[in-house]
């Protein structure tokens, strides 16, 4: 250790935007840059700034199946953003710093395993790419991702839904009141990975008090039980009371205290669209907290605007937490029951809307509940939209440490789909061989 405790990858991508007035635009981290440079944070001995590297297409294809391919769906900015997350992670893995924060854009937590376009400002999932990179090159196994963005991290959930080694915890504004609409308690992972997805949908108007109640009574104990090799914070900052896209009431102090308690090894920026009134303060608070410095003076000038939590919300949150505590305690029993009930295969069908690209996708996902490994997965997907047209694909995914039976069946499934010819594209993704083949 060089005495540096926080590695910071700061990459505002000042030359990239979805559109000039889109919330995810060039100046999204402008005021944050102003604040952290003005504070002198980059001169502090406890903070070391890193220049992001460019991720490779293969790093993205370790996670995603792009239709027709991921390279044609992304820009260089996406590879820098994913590369920034990897740079942050490697600074921690090499023990150059205690923790790291990738303050990068564009974000990624709405990007699912199959990618047809951009949804929720995300095209590739930068945390998932980082996690699979760490598994590939650093032999990590048990990973916990805590998604603190106000929007449900549906992409990350999708990618790890069948993986019992990845604990995905997301608290967010209730999907009944906010994009993307998912993230209910009952979405707990497929039977073989039941309870490795923990969704905590919070009522609009939740404040620091509500957030920390959830953290202290549910998130931290669950992490304690799971015993991850590494904790990753999907650090969305749109729970802030001034965020224009959501309705929560968390402050910079609330976020900084969260960062202090969570002790994430790596944080990766996700959302946060109050670019002037929240991001400069929230980011400064998180940076100071992660670096082990005093953040008590980071207070928004308009803090008086922040509403108080209603009693009804306080009661609702307490009930929600109790419900989850009970589920968590019964998780082994629940998983056995779910596996027994499902039989050999578990299947789900759903529609996915790409709000940025205007694409509607129908997806069928089938996972083999294998007694010897995590089970292979097949996905059949059809997507259409104007002027996008129609595209379809079939993919089989062979998980890490797959058993020979799953491996063979996955190959057979793709060959069969190819022969039937109902899909435009067929893929096989092999996690052990680290390949994505277009069949």
């Amino acid at each position: 250790m060089t005495g540096k405790s926080l590695g910071l990858v700061f990459f505002p991508a000042f030359d990239w935007a979805i559109t000039p007035s889109h919330p995810e635009r060039e100046e999204r981290l402008l005021y944050t840059r102003d604040q952290i440079v003005e504070e002198g944070l980059l001169d502090l001995p406890a903070i070391r700034e890193y220049r992001p590297r460019l991720a490779q297409i293969q790093d993205a294809e370790r996670v995603h199946i792009g239709v027709p391919d991921i390279a044609s769906l992304i820009t260089d900015a996406h590879l820098v953003s994913a590369g920034g997350a990897i740079t942050a992670a490697e600074a921690v893995m090499h023990r150059e710093v205690n923790r790291a924060f990738a303050l990068v854009r564009p974000p990624g937590h709405h990007a699912m395993r199959v990618v047809h376009g951009t949804r929720g400002f995300c095209t590739i999932n930068i945390e998932a790419i980082m996690v699979e990179y760490l598994r590939r090159y650093y032999g990590l196994n048990r990973v916990a991702i805590v998604d603190t963005d106000v929007h449900h991290g549906d992409g990350t959930q999708d990618i790890f839904y069948h993986d019992p080694d990845t604990l995905f915890i997301s608290f967010h504004q209730d999907g009944r009141t906010l994009y993307p609409g998912t993230g209910a308690i009952h979405e707990m992972g497929s039977p073989g990975a039941l309870c490795s997805t923990v969704n905590i949908p919070l009522p609009p108007g939740t404040t620091d008090a509500g957030l920390h109640y959830v953290l202290d009574n549910l998130v931290l104990p669950v992490l304690e039980d799971f015993k991850p090799d590494i904790i990753i914070n999907s650090a969305g900052q749109d729970n802030h009371y001034s965020d224009p896209l959501a309705n929560m009431a968390v402050t910079a102090q609330g976020y900084a205290l969260l960062a202090e308690k969570l002790k994430a090894d790596i944080a990766v920026l996700e959302g946060g669209y109050s670019i002037e009134d929240a991001l400069p303060y929230v980011n400064t608070g998180i940076i100071l907290a992660m670096a082990g410095l005093d953040y008590s003076r980071v207070i928004e000038p308009d803090i008086a605007r922040c509403p108080r939590q209603s009693d009804a919300n306080t009661r609702y949150i307490a009930k929600l937490v109790t419900e989850w505590q009970e589920i968590w305690h019964a998780r082994n029993k629940l998983r056995h029951e779910a596996v027994a009930k499902a039989g050999d295969f578990w299947q789900r069908r759903r529609g996915i809307y790409y709000d940025d690209s205007g694409i509607q996708e129908q997806r069928t996902e089938t996972v083999r509940l294998c007694p010897r490994c995590h089970g292979y997965l097949t996905i059949s997907t059809q997507a259409e939209g104007y002027p996008f047209g129609r595209k379809s694909a079939f993919a089989a995914i062979i998980p890490r440490n797959a058993c020979p039976v799953c491996r063979n069946q996955a190959h057979d499934a793709v060959q069969k789909a190819k022969k039937e010819g109902r899909h435009d594209h067929c893929f096989i993704q092999d996690k052990d061989k680290d390949t994505l083949e277009h069949i």
């Binding site: 700061f10 000042f14 840059r33 504070e39 260089d76």
Partner: protein, 557 residues
């Protein structure tokens, strides 16, 4: 005719330059405790055969500020801060600050007003302070609060000097501006006294030319202006040598320069004919400041570096045990190795051989020992160069195109100046597999640099069309603009005008206005989904550089 004086750690050098030629040079020992004496002696020596009336310009690179800081001969400063919300500065500044209410946000909007009663109460507490420094967070976006507080402190304390942070630097970085403002006030008195004495001494000798002080960024300031910003006169020695290289060697392509002195080698990286600047600014006594300076790395390898055998291998520096044995010193030094290796012809060869015999391994000839020592010395310098190049490659950038298309800095030339340059620079170049150059006059490069340095100054203009104003913090300006019509071009035009004004106000009268655009940035301000204005930032400077290229026939002693 230009007179340049460089006060070094060991020697004070003076040169007179006419039409790009070194006309005279002089070297006298530096008189650390009475700096002025050595300077005057050097001036008298170098001007002995010169018509004083022909001297048009005197430029001085002096250690007065650096020494005052190192020796702690600085004044007590009342450090008044308007920190607003953010980092807790307690323990991060060189002196205990007084925290005041009042806060300007990142767009230059006043979020809380300063309170006069607080300032009055603080002033009562610090009655004995003759120097004050005031710094407000985001004062570079709106200097009004700093000015108001300075006004109140002036009324209450009647101090000899008040420094405003935003006037020292227009760049964001509050911590650095706080530290700069503090040091500026702390060295103000000692520098002012020195400046007055220099002026008097020159006047006594009949030198009527204007006097300039070299800055850490290689520019010069008229003495009068330097009195207001003395902190900029730190670390001028290395800056002088860099300017000397510019005058003597004029490197165009990417290059590495080495100023190889008695105890250290100062390394600088060059691009497009100018050395790279330290990101953020110089460090003073370990504190980061906003003082612009060249990006230099100093390693403990020079002609006098101690050479010995440690655990079977030859070790060089970083300490010095006096001069080389060939020059009457007590222990082997790099210079002894250079003599034995036949790279320089200087000093007592027999004593140098004795020195190398002393460090030779069993069965090793003195020549082989000398070469081993020189390779070791070159290794240390090369490693430092590689570290700098790696740091340069890792320098953060904030645009996608800079990551994808950014070009790597690869030096194409090694330039050496200073006493041991002819011996060591070629060895370093050989290891880096690069060509090398040691220009004539390299022994007095620092004084040449001081003599020929041009004035520099920098301004930052930031317009916020949504709010309808722009600020130029270095000039303490905040001015209204047309919200709908003001463009980036208007911003540059205004910046050009203000730079010219600043140059004139600072007495920068020479016709050397090589202004250069350092940086521009333009962002939309959006409310809902509508663009309601733009934030425009322009940075403009009078480029550091030399008034004239200098050629030297032979090395002046």
């Amino acid at each position: 005719m230009l007179l340049g004086i460089d006060v070094g750690g060991t020697f004070t050098d003076a040169v007179v330059i006419r039409n790009g030629k070194i006309l005279a040079s002089a070297k006298t020992p530096t008189t650390h405790y009475e700096l002025l004496n050595g300077i005057i002696t050097a001036i008298d020596k170098v001007l002995a055969k010169i018509n004083l009336r022909e001297v048009k310009r005197v430029a001085l690179s002096t250690t007065i500020v650096t020494n005052a800081l190192v020796e702690g001969k600085i004044d007590k400063v009342a450090l008044l801060l308007l920190p607003g919300p953010g980092l807790n500065l307690a323990g991060l500044t060189p002196a205990q600050p007084y925290f005041l209410s009042g806060y300007t946000d990142h767009r230059g909007r006043e979020q809380a007003a300063p309170v006069k009663d607080e300032v009055v109460a603080v002033c009562r507490e610090i009655k004995d302070c003759k120097a004050v420094a005031v710094a407000g967070k985001f004062a570079v976006r709106n200097p009004a609060q700093e000015q108001v507080v300075a006004g109140w402190a002036g009324e209450c304390l009647k101090p000899a000097h008040i420094t405003l942070g935003a006037e020292l630097s227009g760049a964001l970085n509050y911590l650095r501006r706080v530290n700069s403002a503090y040091y500026n006030s702390a060295v103000w008195r000692i520098f002012t006294n020195f400046a007055v004495a220099i002026e008097a001494a020159l006047a006594e000798r009949g030198v009527a030319a204007p006097v300039y002080i070299l800055k850490a960024d290689g520019g010069t300031l008229p003495l009068a202006a330097a009195k207001a910003r003395p902190v900029e006169a730190i670390f001028t020695g290395p800056a002088a040598s860099v300017l000397g290289i510019m005058a003597l060697a004029a490197p165009e392509g990417p290059a590495v320069s080495l100023d190889i002195g008695g105890t250290t080698t100062d390394i600088a990286l060059w691009q497009n004919g100018a050395p790279l600047f330290a990101p953020g600014g110089a460090r003073v006594n370990g504190f980061p400041t906003a003082v612009r300076s060249f990006w230099l790395r100093s390693v403990g390898v020079g002609g006098d570096s101690y050479v010995r055998r440690e655990n079977g291998r030859i070790a060089v520096g970083p300490m010095r045990r006096g001069p080389a044995m060939a020059n009457g010193g007590p222990e082997p030094a790099v210079t002894d190795a250079l003599i034995v290796a036949g790279l320089i012809d200087y000093g007592d060869v027999a004593l140098a051989r004795q020195a190398m015999t002393k460090v030779a391994a069993t069965g090793q000839t003195p020549e082989d020992a000398a070469w081993e020592a020189l390779r070791t010395a070159a290794d240390i310098v090369c490693q430092a160069i590689r570290d700098m190049l790696a740091e340069q490659a890792a320098m953060p950038v904030y645009k996608v195109e800079d990551i994808v298309y950014g070009e790597k800095f690869i030096p194409k030339l090694v330039i050496g100046v200073g006493g041991a340059a002819l011996g060591l620079a070629p060895l370093v170049a050989e290891q880096m597999e690069l060509p090398w150059q040691v220009p004539p006059g390299h022994m007095v490069a620092n004084a040449v640099g001081a003599a020929s340095a041009r004035q520099t100054t920098e301004i930052t203009l930031r317009a916020d069309t949504a709010q309808g104003f722009y600020t130029v913090p270095e000039l303490g300006i905040k001015r209204d603009i047309d919200r709908r019509r003001f463009t980036l071009d208007d911003a540059w035009a205004a910046a050009d005008n203000h730079l010219a004004e600043r140059a004139a106000a600072g007495g920068l009268t020479e016709a050397t206005c090589h202004s250069e655009r350092l940086y521009e940035e333009e962002f939309n301000v959006i409310r809902g989904f509508n663009t309601i204005g733009k934030i425009i930032t322009c940075k403009l400077q009078l480029k550091p550089g030399v008034l004239t290229q200098v050629t030297a026939q032979e090395v002046g002693q």
